[in-house]
């Protein structure tokens, strides 16, 4: 009886373990099935490199290059803002902060991660957008920059907590050795700790970027959503995610537009897959 119980439980956990892989595979298959149907009527070249996105016109134009560039522009902007602040914050928490402050900071960062993105989007819309508009004398504040700033807030918790873990797992002896050789505290951090934790920090950055590129609600609310080839970060852009979210309701199941949105989903999946693999590889290289 005991053996049987043991056996059943073991198999049950195995099933749960396999389930997650199964789900990913099924989602990917569904995505492929629906998305690839588009390419019966549209050339992949026109889809990926077309400059015009007019999904409901006759004939419809499905060029997602402006959307891809829009996503990249917002993400790059968010990375430029969040990576230096995030990594510096992680260094402070892991190396400099006194124990009490450390706890407060960590709790604060976790709280930041818990804010729903629609709330951040709303706050951005009423505070940040008018501010960006007046500061840069723009015709409108709904720009890629506004999106980047808001998304930087979302990437920060991921970057800080993983980078801090990476710094924490550097053997104590490294730092002690550096200090014993006469290095100052800052020299030890800059020359020894950061390089030693380098791959972990890279993983933190990649995962933060992965979070940004998949974000939907906040960017839809504050980037203006115009599908134009972006010329500067101070112009409105339309991202891949916002396009799917805004248009999925309208697309009739089985129409060309519907397949196109799934194809956009494939592109997003491929992008975030690469980001995650890069993060994973750099995490494992460390060990």
């Amino acid at each position: 009886m005991r053996k049987l119980k043991e056996f059943i439980i073991e198999k049950l956990i195995l099933l749960c373990g396999l389930a997650s892989i199964l789900f990913v595979a099924l989602i990917f298959l569904f995505l492929l099935k629906e998305g690839l149907a588009l390419f019966k009527t549209i050339l992949p070249k026109d889809f990926l490199f077309g400059h015009k996105w007019y999904p409901i016109s006759e004939p419809a134009l499905f060029g997602i290059l402006p959307l891809i560039l829009g996503s990249f522009l917002v993400t790059a902007g968010a990375a430029v803002i969040s990576v230096p602040i995030g990594v510096a914050c992680a260094v402070y928490i892991a190396e400099v902060a006194p124990a009490k402050l450390k706890e407060i900071l960590k709790a604060g960062i976790e709280l930041l991660a818990a804010i729903p993105s629609v709330v951040l989007g709303f706050i951005g819309m009423v505070t940040l957008v008018p501010w960006v508009k007046t500061l840069f004398h723009l015709p409108t504040g709904l720009t890629a920059l506004s999106g980047s700033i808001m998304l930087a807030f979302m990437a920060m918790p991921t970057i800080v907590s993983i980078a801090e873990d990476a710094l924490y797992s550097v053997p104590k002896t490294y730092k002690e050795g550096a200090l014993a050789l006469g290095a100052t505290h800052w020299q030890a951090i800059w020359r020894v700790m950061l390089p030693a934790a380098g791959s972990g920090i890279l993983a933190a950055v990649m995962l933060g970027i992965g979070r940004v590129i998949g974000e939907t609600m906040a960017v839809m609310m504050i980037t203006g959503n115009s599908a134009v080839m972006p010329a500067s970060i101070l112009e409105p852009v339309r991202t891949l995610t916002a396009t799917v979210a805004a248009e999925m309701g309208e697309a009739v199941v089985g129409s060309e537009h519907y397949f196109a949105l799934f194809a956009v989903g494939i592109v997003l999946f491929v992008i975030s897959f690469f980001i995650n693999v890069t993060a994973d590889l750099s995490l494992h290289r460390k060990k």
């Binding site: 015009k52 996105w53 007019y54 999904p55 409901i56 016109s57 402006p66 008018p130 508009k133 015709p139 409108t140 709904l142 839809m220 609310m221 203006g224 959503n225 115009s226 599908a227 134009v228 080839m229 112009e235 409105p236 339309r238 805004a246 248009e247 309701g249 309208e250 697309a251 009739v252 199941v253 089985g254 129409s255």
Partner: protein, 285 residues
Amino acid sequence: MFKKIVITLAVSTVAISAAFSSKNANSIQIKGSDTMVNLGQAWAEKYMEANPAEFISVTGGGSGTGFSSLISGTCDIAMSSRSIKPKEIDLAKGKGINPKEITVALDGLAVVVNPKNPVEKLTLDQLAQIFTGKITNWKELGGPDLKIVLLSREVNSGTHVYFKEHVLRKGNAGFQEEFAPQALMLSSSQAIADEVAGNTGAIGYYGMGYISPKQKAVMVAKTGSLEFVSPTMDNVINGKYPISRPLFLYTNGEPQGLVKKFIDFILSQVGQDIVAKTDFVPVQK
């Protein structure tokens, strides 16, 4: 122990499936045009006051969303601010759905600018040139030297489609005019109202029910030689205002049972009074 779990599971499964399978015969799902959500909700509230045993739920999402729900069978009535497309009829027929159109109100589409903008009136031709990106500065229209910020609704909006077909393309199906790609796509009429209220260079469009003192509705004329008129109820009824449109409900086949009762209510005096109260134009006198 095991027995207990199994019994609990079995009981809860039965209970849950019972709750979901008994489709409530006393409720109607209505979905579609954002322009009509307030109107739909006002109808539903008044109707449910008189018929407390029946339940009507009204949600928005855009005219296209309404059609795709009607076609996939997830709503009983679709609200729409545009006619159904031939493509959508084909899709519906393929799923055994037979869309039936009922006109329930009229709506004037207002073109709005910031109250600080001195531009008072525009012709349809000028509007088309503005929204296709051929005119990009207010000074070309007698206003200040200020870049025009175009505000449009997302493509799932019936208002977007109507404006494109009747203003940009002037009702000519052969025309290929499109919204300029730099137009900002906002997800609701309210978002357009807010942006126009706060941006002196902005121009947008929406159903005239959304006009408030924070925006200025420009007067529109079909051509320069005709009279410029503002989007008021009287001008829509007498046909002077050039950008007005019918609002529809679509049902699957002839309305029956509860759906018919609700639509009869909408077309009654009480229902049409609600139309006027929510700033649309009644179709029945």
